[in-house]
């Protein structure tokens, strides 16, 4: 055994001798690599990326870049901290970033996108050991986490070609395909996540990956096939189902993820069938119109079982031990699938009956929840604001979408008892509106004000407005009023237009209020009887009363505030000092000025009053404070005219 050298270097399984390398066969390797596969996936994703930029504007690119850069940075840092070798060169983090971006609406705030990358890369991928080890699809899991945590932002769809001033547009799935043509669906001209709308681009990319043999055709085919079949069975517009939501993106790019899908072809078929079935069950029976993400995540969890159950019988080998390796996992799998389906169907049946109206399942089930009874849609058209009316044994519910701030629509539901008393007001989607300072408009503090009321409601009197969200609050009040009219059968098609911000929109309402109820307030102030008086009063003074003992005089005064008229009742002592200031009606953004801090300043004093001198304006309501001060002065003027 001549010429045997001491191994100079030992590197893995290769021993490098002084001269010749000795390693175990095979001595050649194919040219494919993880990096090349990921590059192919990126190429496959590029048509959809281009489509998204065309459809949703340059922000689609910004969102994608944000996701990619943050994913790569997270991967780098994570590997560094975990003291593992650097893997960003394999491009898998880039792929995850692009896929995550494709699952986000284009309006997503970039910091939320970064949180998504963190969830995908750090939590789902690296904490489970990095590429090939994670059991759940990183991008899908991140989407679901974001959807749960930031549902408003995650469901803020915009219509394509609307650019920066995005106009919200529901996804075809949530509207039941009423407003989208098949051509629009295929080309992606509809609302949705930025990468999932353009079916043509996705199919193009998917076919590329199949030709390059990066993915097997079996998963997408089984996925799409199963979805189609169920759509036919459910009679739910099969073609529309295929081209909407994330189905194609999921079928070609997410369900084919190596780490989280089965190895064998039979396994891939089962996996695809499962994904398609669960998707369609969620779409059909669930309250959530899009089911792809949940379906894939759910099937991800079953992959180890599918892999075991579909392990091939080796060529010439023994059959796998049936009991342990095939029967058990298969039974487990079937039981799990049946339990989940039963749970889904069961909840559905408990909460809902079949409905064939134009209202979405989401709205119907919310209405059922509010009324506590199954609802059915009342056919009819109700103008712009009212989407539909549902009736049940416990009363009616009306779906309305009034216009709020800057023309954005608010989706809401109003439920009425059989006697048309408001039972509940629920805001479904307020993502078009900027949030107010403090209390949000969809908080129970605001919407709860409506409960128990009926008839035409007025801002400031019946319902207090939310600070900093006047237009939104008024929009909601208009919506409730429109709903009330629709529920009572008064078809008021144009009620939505009353949300303009002219100061006197509530004038007639307030004056009628004064006529009807000012006298209800009086007895408390003028305890022992009163009489209406008249005189040469300023125009703003609409009515006046004096007490039987002529010690108190009350004046109803209408002055202008910032948003509308202020109707106030000023009561003056016989000696000319102010006894009481009560605001009867106002359209102001702040209810605060009607209360002590302002009204209390007048009592016991003699006028005239000037804001900034002897009256401190309420912060944030200077104009209104001035309006009320003016009312007091006018009342004093009227009182003085009586004395003459």
């Amino acid at each position: 055994m001549s010429g045997v050298n001491v191994p100079a270097e030992r590197k893995g399984m290769t021993v490098i001798l002084e001269k010749l390398i000795v390693s175990a066969s095979p001595h050649i390797r194919s040219s494919n690599s993880t990096q090349k596969i990921m590059l192919d996936v990126l190429i496959g994703l590029s048509p959809a990326l281009i489509a998204s930029v065309i459809l949703f504007g340059y922000r689609a690119l910004i969102v994608t870049l944000t996701c990619v850069v943050s994913s790569v940075v997270f991967e780098y840092l994570c590997r560094k901290i975990m003291k593992r070798d650097n893997t960003i060169a394999d491009l898998s983090a880039v792929v995850t970033g692009v896929l995550l971006a494709f699952n986000l609406p284009v309006t997503i705030p970039l910091w939320i996108a970064c949180i998504g990358s963190f969830v995908a890369i750090v939590v789902v991928k690296q904490l489970f050991g990095g590429i090939g080890q994670n059991f759940a699809n990183p991008a899908i899991t991140a989407r679901i986490v974001l959807l749960i945590s930031f549902s408003g932002h995650m469901t803020k769809w915009v219509s394509p070609f609307s650019g920066a001033d995005a106009v919200t547009s529901p996804t075809p799935l949530s509207t039941g395909f009423t407003d989208v043509s098949l051509l629009d669906l295929v080309t992606g001209v509809h609302g949705g996540c930025l990468g999932e709308t353009c079916a043509i681009a996705l199919i193009l990319g998917g076919v590329y990956l199949m030709i390059r043999r990066v993915i097997d055709f079996s998963t997408p085919l089984a996925f799409i096939g199963a979805a189609f079949l169920w759509a036919v069975i459910f009679d739910a517009e099969p073609l529309y189902q295929l081209f909407s939501g994330g189905l194609l993106l999921g079928a070609f790019f997410m369900a084919t993820d190596y780490s989280t899908s089965p190895i064998t072809r039979l396994g891939k078929v089962i996996f695809g069938l499962g994904c398609g079935t669960v998707t369609m069950f969620i779409r059909h029976f669930g309250s959530y119109p899009e089911g792809v993400s949940f379906a894939i995540l759910f099937m991800n969890i079953l992959v180890p079982y599918i892999d075991r159950a579909t392990a091939l019988k080796p060529f010439g080998g023994k059959k796998m031990r049936v009991a342990r390796d095939i029967v058990k996992p298969t039974v487990t799998l079937i039981v799990i699938v049946m339990c989940i389906s039963a749970a889904v169907v069961g909840t559905y049946n408990l909460t809902k009956e079949e409905s064939t109206g134009s209202l979405s399942q989401e709205v119907l089930s919310a209405a059922e929840e509010m009324l506590g009874a199954p609802v059915s849609e009342v056919p009819g058209t109700y103008g712009e604001t009212v989407n539909g009316v549902m009736t049940s044994e416990n009363g009616k519910a009306v779906s309305v979408s009034p216009v709020g701030y800057s023309g954005g629509k608010i989706e809401m539901l109003v439920a009425f008892d059989p006697d048309y008393v408001i039972r509940e007001v629920r805001i479904l989607d307020i993502s078009t509106q900027t949030p107010g300072i403090g209390q949000p408009v969809d908080s129970p503090e605001f919407t709860g004000q409506f409960v128990g009321k009926s008839g035409n409601l007025t801002a400031g009197t019946d319902v207090d407005i939310v600070t900093g969200a006047t237009a939104t609050s008024k929009g909601i009040i208009n919506g409730v009023n429109a709903a009330s009219a629709a529920a009572q059968g008064i078809l008021d098609g144009d009620s939505s237009d009353s949300s303009s911000e002219e100061p006197d929109t509530t004038a007639s309402a307030t004056s009628s209020f004064v006529e009807q109820s000012a006298e209800d307030v009086l007895p408390g102030l003028l305890k022992d009887g009163y009489a209406e008086i008249s005189g040469q009063f300023p125009a703003e003074v609409e009515a006046a009363w004096k007490s039987a003992d002529e010690m108190l005089y009350s004046f109803s005064v209408r002055t202008q505030g910032y948003w509308g008229d202020i109707v106030s009742l000023i009561t003056i002592h016989a000696d000319g000092s102010v006894a009481d200031v009560t605001v009867l009606a106002q359209g102001e953004s702040s209810a605060k000025f009607t209360e002590e801090p302002l009204t209390g300043q007048f009592t016991g004093k003699n006028g005239p009053f000037t804001v900034g001198e002897n009256i401190d304006a309420v912060a944030g309501a200077t104009v209104s404070s001035t309006g009320l001060t003016q009312a007091v002065n006018l009342a004093l003027e009227a009182f003085a005219s009586l004395a003459e």
């Binding site: 010429g3 045997v4 010749l20 000795v22 494919n32 993880t34 060529f315 010439g316």
Partner: protein, 438 residues
């Protein structure tokens, strides 16, 4: 005879064929100054040298044998003087003697060399034994053992392996083109003496000239059928070839003869016929010499015991410094560490690669793409096996049936993460064997 296209094929990989030498007529290599003939050139018992230093030997003289059923005699490939009996370790780790012979360049044949007399199966098997024949395709299994199957086994098919699925190697291809008569006659003799009904010659479709020539030569012979095979590696692996040619499945733990099939390499059957004609035992063989370091790639007729260095010198020397030298093909060949390693009976190629061509890329994490399972001809799960081996989980290795692994290397070849899967399987098999022995 109708052309039967090979329809069946087990999975595998498509490799770049690189059959650079397929058009090169075999050239006989000149007799080297010395040869070193190891006493173990087959799977089986190690031979005892029959000569001692100082002895004069002649071409075809038996110089090694042992009284053991699994022995194959070894003959001198040259005439000259024995100078030493060296200790030698084969690359599979067997320790034996090697007879070093100083050649006299005369190539005087041994007087014992004479065509054998064939009368019946026994005399046929005896002749095969005396020819020193082993499987020339690579494994080196003693041919007389393979052919001497028990009478009660109903063997009805002889498959001639001309797939030659490894890249570069064209030794079998040249055999078809240069010795079609020997092949046909050899087959007929085997069929005749062993009572086998039919022979199938499997040739990969990347050798259309060989397929055409053999079809012409066998057109009038109903008991020999040419089977064109898909050019998919490892089409030449025994189990894979049997399946492709006959559709029969060799169950784990059984040998082909139990399924009624015998597989012989094309060079083996042809060389046997030359022995029956001339009586000269196996002393030389065709070796494909190729690789990016070889000056003039060739098909060389090499005397057994010539060193790799001698062969390379005959083929124009090294064009650049080799970093890896293989005996056999790039998928299953063995890397040698010493250029003085002698050529033995079952070496069909010498491939010399530069550093660049020999570089094995860095292993990265498995991405679970499943390609290793997809290409595995026997359908086991290399990725799961690697995990099981790393965990030294013997039960799991057994459950996943690592023993079925052909060591074909498809899994390692295809893996995008460059995992050393086939290599791990070899280690796993050794681990299992070591543990079952205990």
């Amino acid at each position: 005879m109708a052309i039967v296209k090979g329809k069946r094929s087990l999975p595998g990989v498509r490799l770049a064929h690189r059959k650079n030498t397929q058009g090169f007529q075999t050239q006989a290599m000149p007799v080297p100054d010395t040869v070193k003939i190891p006493m173990c050139q087959h799977m089986g018992a190690v031979c005892q040298p029959l000569v001692k230093p100082g002895d004069t030997v002649y071409v075809g003289q038996k110089i090694g044998e042992v009284d053991h059923p699994r022995c194959v005699p070894i003959h001198s490939s040259v005439s000259g003087t024995v100078t030493a009996l060296e200790d030698y370790t084969t690359y599979s780790g067997v320790v034996c003697k090697a007879v070093v012979i100083q050649t006299d360049q005369q190539q005087t044949p041994d007087p014992s060399v004479a065509p054998p007399v064939l009368t019946d199966k026994a005399s046929f098997i005896r002749a095969v034994y005396e020819s020193g024949m082993v499987g020339l395709g690579g494994a080196g299994f003693p041919t007389h053992l393979k052919l001497n199957f028990q009478e009660d086994l109903h063997v009805d098919a002889l498959i001639i392996n001309g797939a030659e699925c490894e890249p570069y190697i064209t030794a079998d291809h040249r055999e078809f083109l240069e010795h079609p008569e020997d092949i046909v006659e050899g087959i007929q003799k085997v069929l005749h003496y062993l009572g086998i009904a039919k022979a199938y010659i499997g040739i990969e479709t990347n050798k259309p000239d060989a397929i055409r020539l053999m079809q012409e030569r066998t057109a009038s012979l109903p008991d020999i059928q040419i089977i064109p095979l898909c050019s998919v590696y490892p089409q030449g692996a025994e189990k894979v070839l049997i399946y492709a040619a006959t559709g029969r499945v060799i169950e784990a733990g059984t040998i082909p003869v139990q399924a009624g099939v015998i597989v012989m390499n094309v060079c083996t059957v042809s060389q046997l016929n030359r022995y029956f004609r001339t009586g000269m035992p196996l002393i030389s063989r065709r070796v494909t010499v190729d690789g990016d370091c070889i000056g003039q790639p060739k098909n060389a007729e090499v005397l057994i015991g010539s060193s790799i260095q001698d062969v390379v010198d005959f083929c124009g020397g090294f064009r650049q410094e080799p970093k890896k030298v293989l005996m056999g093909g790039p998928m299953m060949g063995v890397a040698v560490y010493d250029l003085h390693t002698p050529i033995i009976k079952n070496n069909n190629a010498i491939l010399c690669f530069s550093e660049e061509a020999a570089r094995i890329p860095q292993e990265t994490a498995c991405i679970r793409c499943g390609k290793c399972s997809q290409v595995c001809p026997v359908g086991i799960m290399p990725r799961a096996l690697e995990k099981a081996y790393d965990a030294q989980n013997l039960d799991e290795l057994e459950r996943l049936q690592v023993n079925l692994c052909l060591n074909c290397g498809c899994c390692s070849y295809i893996c995008p993460a460059k995992r050393n899967l086939a290599q791990k399987n070899q280690l796993a098999k050794m681990l299992l064997r070591a543990n079952t022995k205990r």
